[in-house]
Symmetry: C2
Subunit: 354 residues, 2 copies
């Protein structure tokens, strides 16, 4: 493998000194880019795009041609694992993800296909290898998966949900069944992320999109415990090589001290959390990734720059900060405003690393 030319992102995750704050954006390969919409049109469905090695690689590279990002992220979906387990993932326009089969009882859990990521999700590993080749050592590649709890919400609800009534009913009424499902998912996600790392991912992020729907205790029991299990399994698989793991729980701002104790290298924080306060809570345990409100990108370059300045000042001096949005970039954002965003981070951050 060629050596990495820009390792700012990996260094910041490991809290090593950097010259400026690295930046990437959640969903940076996405609908706000006209070239993405064009490729997506050619590919067919969203899932067709994920499964097409060449086109998945192409859309991963698109934002990097426009912006000096410090990391690329695999183009894929958070729900590939349950899809491979046989639930039949599909997307209804404007409706979000859906599964053809959902999990309602013990027999449904037992009938989940036992998977080996290298074989059953080979299209993902092919994409990882193709992207690494295309990146040619310029910047590191991030792999990812949904968290076990987040996968379980879609698997039990059959799709998106407002109040998570079905999955919570299972968690509160049949906790053993829920724990058995989450255990299966944690093992599968650990294997999946391990396979992505073997294929070339240089850091991994676990997207816990719906951990924030739980109570404080529910979060610890049903979401955090299983992300911790993944981290532990990965560290055994990797035999101590330091591939950084980022945990991102949307709505998890009240639980940072607990997240920091999982062994994760970094915590992704959403835009509702004050980053200064977050840093004071986690201290030197982990790096922080975030956390500008994606909606700021609908305003002006001047306003964007002000917000970047506030967040940099909030985190303060020293390493351990990866700049990002607090959630995925929203379709409809002007790509020029993204330039203003990336430029602002690059221009304003060096003084925090002197």
């Amino acid at each position: 493998m060629v050596s990495l030319k820009n390792d700012r992102f990996l260094r910041a995750l490991l809290r090593k000194p950097v010259d400026r704050t690295p930046i990437w954006m959640m969903r940076q390969a996405g609908r706000y880019l006209p070239e993405y919409r064009e490729t997506r049109r050619l590919a067919g469905s969203f899932l067709d795009l994920c499964k097409n090695t060449e086109l998945a690689c192409e859309v991963t590279m698109q934002p990097l041609r426009r912006y000096s990002m410090d990391a690329a992220i695999l183009f894929s979906d958070i729900l590939t694992v349950p899809d491979a387990m046989g639930l039949g993932l599909y997307f209804e326009e404007g409706e979000g993800p859906r599964f053809r089969k959902s999990i309602n009882n013990e027999s449904d859990v037992r009938n989940l296909k036992s998977i080996k990521a290298e074989d059953d999700l080979s299209y993902v590993m092919n994409a990882v290898r193709a992207i690494r080749k295309e990146l040619n050592g310029d910047i590191p590649l991030i792999g990812f998966s949904g968290s076990p709890w987040t996968l379980a919400t879609y698997m039990v609800e059959g799709g998106s949900s407002k109040d998570f009534a079905k999955v919570k009913t299972m968690a509160y009424s049949q906790p053993e069944l829920m724990h058995s499902l989450l255990g299966i998912l944690a093992d599968a996600v650990a294997d999946y992320l391990g396979a992505q790392i073997s294929a070339g991912a240089q850091a991994v992020q676990i997207f816990d999109t719906w951990g924030g729907s739980l109570s404080s205790q529910g979060y610890k029991d049903f979401s955090l415990a299983y992300m911790k299990r993944i981290i532990e399994q990965l560290s055994v698989t990797l035999e101590g090589s330091s591939v950084p793991v980022i945990l991102f729980t949307k709505g998890g701002g009240q639980w940072l001290p607990f997240i920091a104790e999982t062994g994760a290298h970094a915590i992704g924080i959403d835009w509702t959390t004050d980053i200064k306060n977050a840093r004071s809570q986690v201290g030197d345990l982990v790096a922080l990734q975030g956390n500008m409100d994606p909606a700021i990108l609908f305003s002006s370059p001047k306003r964007i720059r002000e917000e970047v300045a506030n967040i940099l000042e909030g985190f303060g001096k020293g390493t351990g900060h990866v700049f990002n949005l607090g959630h995925g970039i929203t379709p409809g954002v002007d790509p020029d405003n993204v330039s203003a965003f990336v430029d602002a981070v690059q221009e304003l951050s060096p003084k925090y690393h002197l």
Copy 2:
């Protein structure tokens, strides 16, 4: 007026000693009750029900015939104020609230009808008076409104939203316009709550349903500042008489110390917040209201009782706790599980008040 027979709820809000923890439920008059669904059918639309004095009074009383609640809450909607201002509120089945006109620019703000609640929302005051009469001093009546920011989100978006792109674009790109809208709304809500109190409401709650969509600084600037303004105006109007004000920001768990400094008597906390941690953050400044996950009501009486015990133990000894759900009760809950919930609070809480 007859004197109040059960003032446990009001005493707890003011942090005075009580014999047990008082309880009521957000949306206690609602779709989980078959008798509510029947009355709603007779009334026509949801808004027809709100505007029908006799039927609004009837549905307010329905949960009180089943359960020993310590407070009643006016049956109405959080969006009555912008409706009275001329935006035309309506409800699409399964879609949530919508406005026929939305706010897009300065001229839309200027054209909002200037309202006087006693006249322009007389149907609400009629309902308050009718309910007070019907309650006959048994338990206190809570009045309410949406918060200025929450009203603004619906007014600018034209309805519910996932990412609040329009309203945040206005807030971040045209802050003066947003502040002028929020100022108008704060004054109208203060007048509205004052009128409800004059008509007989014995406590008021401000529902800040969407404050949690903002960044920490955005919350302070666009939501909290205007709730504080309402509290200040109310305290002038009421000349120091202590009608308790409860602020409930869904997703506001990270901002409790700031909310506690507004002059509110109590903070409503959603189910994601650990109530023990919340109490340690706000100390003796305010009472706390909450915060069981509504989804627990889908489980068993045994599990519900365990959760009630956990929350009571979390808050600990002494007054200053009003038991509630962390959000409105979900349609589909078995009314018998609500009995188990209310009974558990009444049976398990006295020992915390010895």
